[in-house]
C-alpha cells in the first residue's frame, strides 16, 4: 500500500505523546483510585495499599463531597440555561438584517471568551465588592440594597454564574450564528406569506431548525461547566462556608493540598461518571423529542 510506512511515521510522534501522557495516565488513574496513595506513599512507594473500592465508598459517605457535587450541579443548572439563552439572544441580534456594524459587535461580544480566565475573575472580584464594586453601586443607583456577593453563602455561587455567563456566552454565540446562517430563507418567506409574526417565526422556524445545534451546544456547555475550578479558586477560595467548592476544587484540595492522591483519583472518576450521566440524560431527552 502506498505511503504505508510513511503514514505511521507521520502519526507516531503525536500518538506516542498522547498515549504516554494521556492514555497511560487515564488507565493509571483508575488503578490509583483503588489505592490509599497518600503523602507517605509519595515519600516511599512501599507505603501504598490496595483498598479496592474503599475510596469510592468513603467519598459517597462524605457529606463534604456531596456538598461539592451539589454546588457543581447548582452552578451547572443555573449557568448552562442562562449561558445558552444569552448566546442565542446575541446570535439572533447579530443575525438580524436590521443590525449595523456587525463585525464590530461580533468582536466586542466575543472578546470575553479569549481573555484569561484568572485575570477576568480577578476583575469581577472587584466589580462584585460590596463597598467599592461597580455592580452594587449601579444597583444602589436604582434603589436596590447592596448584596455581599462573594461574602454571602447564598449569593456567592449566583455571582460566579453571572461571571461565567459573561465570560463564555460569546463562544456559543458564534456557533449559533453559523447555525442561523444555514436556515434557508424560503422557510422564513413561507412563514411570512402565511402571516406569521416575528415571534411565531422564531418559535416555529428558527428554533426547530436550530435544534441539533442547541443539543450540541448544551452537551459541550454542560461538560465544560461541570469542570468548574479556577473561578472559585480565584474569587472565593471555595468559600464562604464551602458554598463554592466544586467537584474539581474538591479534587484539587484532596490531591494537591492534602496529597491524598488515591482519593483524588477516585474524585476524578466520579466527575467523569457525572459528566457521562448528564450527557446521557440530554441525549435521551433529545431523542424523545426527535432531535438526535
Amino acid at each position: 500500500m502506498r505511503g504505508g510506512g510513511a503514514g505511521w511515521a507521520f502519526v507516531a510522534p503525536a500518538l506516542a505523546i498522547i498515549g504516554v501522557f494521556f492514555f497511560a495516565p487515564v488507565a493509571a488513574a483508575f488503578a490509583l483510585s483503588l489505592t490509599d496513595f497518600d503523602i507517605y506513599a509519595l515519600a516511599d512507594l512501599r507505603n501504598i495499599r490496595f483498598v479496592g473500592l474503599g475510596n469510592y465508598g468513603e467519598l459517597l459517605a462524605n457529606p463534604l463531597f456531596w456538598q461539592a457535587v451539589g454546588n457543581t450541579l447548582y452552578f451547572v443548572i443555573l449557568g448552562v440555561p442562562l449561558s445558552i439563552c444569552a448566546s442565542l439572544g446575541a446570535a439572533l441580534l447579530l443575525d438580524s438584517r436590521l443590525a449595523r456594524f456587525k463585525a464590530f459587535f461580533r468582536t466586542a461580544l466575543f472578546a470575553p471568551v479569549v481573555t484569561t480566565l484568572v485575570a477576568t475573575a480577578v476583575i469581577w472580584r472587584y466589580l462584585l465588592h460590596t463597598r467599592y464594586g461597580l455592580i452594587d453601586a449601579a444597583m444602589g443607583a436604582i434603589g436596590v440594597a447592596p448584596i455581599d456577593w462573594l461574602g454571602d453563602p447564598r449569593w456567592a455561587m449566583p455571582a460566579i454564574v453571572l461571571f461565567a455567563v459573561w465570560k463564555n456566552f460569546g463562544y456559543n454565540m458564534i456557533i449559533f450564528l453559523a447555525g442561523l446562517q444555514t436556515i434557508p430563507e424560503d422557510l422564513y418567506e413561507a412563514a411570512r406569506i402565511d402571516g406569521a409574526s416575528a415571534a411565531r417565526r422564531l418559535w416555529h422556524v428558527t428554533l426547530p431548525s436550530l435544534a441539533p445545534v442547541i443539543l450540541l451546544v448544551s452537551l459541550l456547555t454542560f461538560a465544560g461547566y461541570l469542570q468548574l475550578f479556577a473561578e472559585p479558586y480565584v474569587m472565593t477560595q471555595g468559600g464562604p462556608a464551602r458554598s463554592t467548592v466544586s467537584v474539581l476544587y474538591f479534587m484539587y484540595e484532596q490531591g494537591f493540598k492534602w496529597w491524598n492522591l488515591g482519593m483524588a483519583s477516585a474524585v476524578a472518576f466520579l466527575l467523569f461518571a457525572l459528566m457521562l450521566a448528564v450527557s446521557m440524560v440530554q441525549l435521551a431527552v433529545a431523542r424523545r423529542r426527535g432531535v438526535a
Partner: protein, 279 residues
Amino acid sequence: MKPSPELRSAAAGLAVNGLLVLGAAIALAPLLWMVSVSFMRPGEADSFPPPLLPRAPSLAAYRDLFAHHGMGRYFANSLFLASAATALSLLFNVMAGYAFAKLRFAGRDRVFQFLLGALIIPGQVAMIPLFLMLKALGLVNNFGGVLIPAAAGVFGIFLVRQYALSIPDELLEAARVDGAGEFRIFRSIVLPALAPIMVTLATFSFLAAWNDFMWPLIVLSDDRLYTLPVALASLAREHVQDSELMMAGAVVTVLPVLLLFVVLQRYYIRGLLAGSVKG
C-alpha cells in the same frame, strides 16, 4: 390605527441596535474598567462611590508590579511557554493530521475513531498520575512538565485532518510519480497548502497555553517559574486590597491575547466552528 410598516421597521431597527449596544457595553465594561483602574494612584479605586476614571492617570501600579512583584519574569515565562507549546503543537499535530487525512496505512481509520472517542474523557482524569509520572522524570517544577501535555492533542489533529482532506490526491500522486519522497512532499506541497489551518491551530494553541491555569498551578511550585495566571492568582490571594495593582496585573495578562485575537480572529473563529460542527 396601525403604525405604518416603515415606522415599525424603524422601531425594530432601533431595538435591535440598541440591544446590541447594551450587550457590547456589558461585554466590554469590565475590561474598560480594568484599564481605567490600572492607571489610578494607589488606594484611589477604594473610595465611595467607586470612581470610573483616574483623577490623574499614573503608571504607579505598573511600576510597582514590574519593580517589586516580578511581573517581567512572569511575562517572559508565559511568553516562552506559550510560544514553545505552539511550536510543539504545530510540529506534532500537523504531521499527524495530514497523515490521517491523506496517507493510507493499516488501522488508520480505527485509530482516528478511537482518538475522537477519547475526547469525552476530561483531561483532569489524567492529571494525578501524570503529575506522579513527571515527578519521577524530574519534570515537576520544570517548564518541561507544563509543555508535555500541550505538545499533541486530539483536537489539533482533528482540526488539521478536516482541512487536509481538501488537498487534491492528484497533486500528491503527481509528486510521487516524479519520485519525491513523502517527507519532501510534506515539506514542499502539504505545508504550504495547510498554511491557513496552521495559523488557526497556532492561535488556538497559543491562547490555550497562555490562559491555562490548573495544570501550571499544579506543576510549578517555585514562584520564579510561575506563568502570568498563576502569579496573578497568587498575588490576588495576598494583595486583596490593592485594586490598582491587581488591575494592572490583569491588563498585562489579558492585553497580549486580546490583541492577538483581534488580529487573527478570522482564523480563530474558523477553528472554533470546525471544532464544534463535527463531521
